[in-house]
Symmetry: C2
Subunit: 168 residues, 2 copies
């Protein structure tokens, strides 16, 4: 018995983004109920040199798109990073989920040893499919989605860990 690269990637990404979508729906409802301009929440950050909520969401979707595309050898969907509302963020997440759904298991299965190179901040990083997935994409995706959650909790949005983890 063994697990497949597909099972360890696409359903994990899709679940994280589905939960993030639910969190953002609660944030939008909180803003409306409390007469908070949604752009205030989207611009909120935990420290002046940290990214705001909007960027956390953008990066989370980029990681899922890039992760799925690189493992499957597909072109990754691009976004213009111009979202200014919760509705636009939901559209971005939906587009990402649609792309993930379009990936077939056999496009990703077998990518364990696939060479993947990324350039980040001028440094070239070399991975295998497996190290890219487990030690780069997954920690990064949860880092940004947990930071989005933390920003919203810090701003008084009522969320609980089940919103982040999702149903079993």
């Amino acid at each position: 018995m063994s697990i497949s690269m597909y099972q360890a990637s696409v359903p994990v990404f899709a679940r994280a983004l589905g939960n993030l979508s639910g969190i953002l729906k609660k944030a939008a409802a909180h803003a409306e109920k409390n007469k908070i301009d949604p752009s205030v929440l989207l611009a909120a950050r935990l420290y002046p040199n940290m990214f705001p909520l909007s960027r956390q969401i953008q990066i989370a979707t980029d990681l899922a798109n890039g992760g799925g595309a690189r493992l499957a050898g597909l072109e990754r969907p691009t976004h213009e990073d111009t979202e200014t509302s919760f509705e636009q963020m939901q559209t971005r997440i939906e587009r990402t989920l649609k792309f993930l759904q379009s990936i077939q298991p056999d496009q990703i299965d077998g990518s364990e040893e696939k060479a993947i190179a990324l350039t980040i901040g001028g440094n070239e990083l070399q991975f295998t499919g497996q190290t890219y997935l487990f030690h780069f994409v997954v920690p990064n995706l949860f880092f940004h989605s947990a930071t989005a959650y933390a920003i919203l909790r810090h701003n008084g949005v009522e969320l609980g860990k089940p919103d982040f983890i999702g149903g079993v």
Copy 2:
């Protein structure tokens, strides 16, 4: 080709905790340099009804211990949750890493379909080894370690994402 449950679990947990250890070392150094009582950082939280840093660290280690133990069918190490200093938190992380290192790949490999039941908040959750790993332990572990990072960043500790992700 395929990936194994061991590769998808123990090295991922160990890396997350190793990075958390490095983050806490920077936090301890920051406290000393800026004459901050370390207990102030350990008690810091992002919202009154969120857990403080100390509890985030405790839960992160519990998840790694519980994850490794349940998948391998071993007794999990217990902690008394009485840590009051960064040194004691480092000891807790070291104990957890030692336990993870003691687990042999063949104790976890093949646990994909193993039935795992957890009771959380009075609800019994039923998993397979694979859903437990990918949809419960990993998201939870990164949730708590990212929240620990967020609490420290919010309190002015100079950290960057490489501290969270680690070297490739």
